[in-house]
Amino acid sequence: MTSLDLEVSSQLTPLEVAPISRTTLALFAGASGDHNPIHVDIDVARASGFDDVFAQGMLSMAYLGRLLTQSVPQERIRSYGVRFSSITPVHGQPTCTGVVRSIEEVDGVRLAVLDLQVALADGTVTLQGDAVVELDEE
C-alpha cells in the first residue's frame, strides 16, 4: 500500500445513493440490529408524533462510511464521527460528499482531516461529520 493522493481542498468522489425505500429501512433494521420500530412501523411512528417512518441515522452514517472506504482503505481510517442534524424521510435521496480540510504530520505519519456531509436532493443537510485518515502506511 502506498501513499494516498489527497491534498487540502481535494474533494472525494461523491457517493449518490438511490432514494431510500421502506424495504431498505426494513433490511437495515435487520442487518444493523437496530430494531427500533419507529423506522419500520408507521403505527409506532405516528404514535410518537411523526407522520411516517423515517430512516435510521446509522443508515446515513453507513452510506457516508461507504464514501470513506471507497476513497481510502478502511485500515487507514483513524476516527469517524457524525452529528445527525435532520431526519431523513422515506424516499429521501442522500448524496455523500467529503473534502480534505487539513493535512498534518503526527509521528511521521501524514493525517488528513476530512469534512463530511450527507444532503438530500432538496438540499437538506441530514448529517455532518469528520474523519481522520492516514495518508501514509504506518
Partner: protein, 155 residues
C-alpha cells in the same frame, strides 16, 4: 421525565457478537455496498485481508444483540418513541473480521439537558474488543430525548 443523573457512570453488561460472513453480507446488501471486499472472500483476501472486514459503522449494533435491546432506556424511564440519535463517533484501533467474537462494553458517560429539560442528552461510551482482547474501537454516541410535558407540568 428526567433521567436520573445517578445513572452516570453505570456500565451495562458486556455483549458479545460472533461476526459471521452472512451477517456482514446482509449488512452490505442493506447499505447497497458495491465494493466486493465486503462480500466476497477472494476479493477481501486479494486486498490483503484475512477475511471479510467488518465495515466502519457495523460496530454500533453489537450492543443491541440481546433479547431486549432497549432495556437500558426502559430502566432509565425513557420512552423509545422520544429518542433520536444525536451523534456518533468511532475511534478505530484495529480492523475486525468475519469469524471474530466482538465484545462491546458500554457505560453512561453523561446526562445533560437543554431548553429547560425539554431536550435531554444521554452520552454513552463503549469499547469494542475482539476474542484476543485486542481493542478494535472506542465508540461514543449521544441520544436526544424529546421530553413532552403535559399542560399541568408546563404550568
Amino acid at each position: 421525565m428526567a433521567v436520573d443523573r445517578a445513572a452516570i457512570g453505570r456500565e451495562s453488561a458486556p455483549v458479545t457478537l460472533h461476526i459471521d460472513a452472512g451477517r456482514l453480507r446482509f449488512f452490505a446488501k442493506a447499505i447497497s455496498e458495491t465494493d466486493p471486499i465486503y462480500t466476497d472472500l477472494d476479493a477481501a483476501k486479494n486486498a490483503g485481508h484475512p477475511n471479510l472486514p467488518v465495515p466502519p459503522t457495523f460496530l454500533f449494533g453489537i450492543s443491541l444483540e440481546v433479547p431486549d435491546p432497549f432495556e437500558s432506556f426502559t430502566e432509565l424511564g425513557i420512552d423509545l418513541g422520544t429518542v433520536l440519535h444525536g451523534s456518533q463517533r468511532f475511534t478505530y484501533h484495529a480492523l475486525a473480521y468475519a469469524g471474530d467474537d466482538l465484545t462491546m462494553r458500554t457505560r453512561i458517560a453523561d446526562v445533560y439537558e437543554k431548553k429547560s429539560g425539554l431536550l435531554e442528552f444521554l452520552v454513552q461510551e463503549s469499547t469494542i474488543t475482539n476474542q484476543d482482547g485486542t481493542l478494535i474501537a472506542v465508540a461514543e454516541n449521544t441520544v436526544v430525548i424529546r421530553n413532552r410535558f403535559d399542560k399541568q407540568e408546563q404550568a
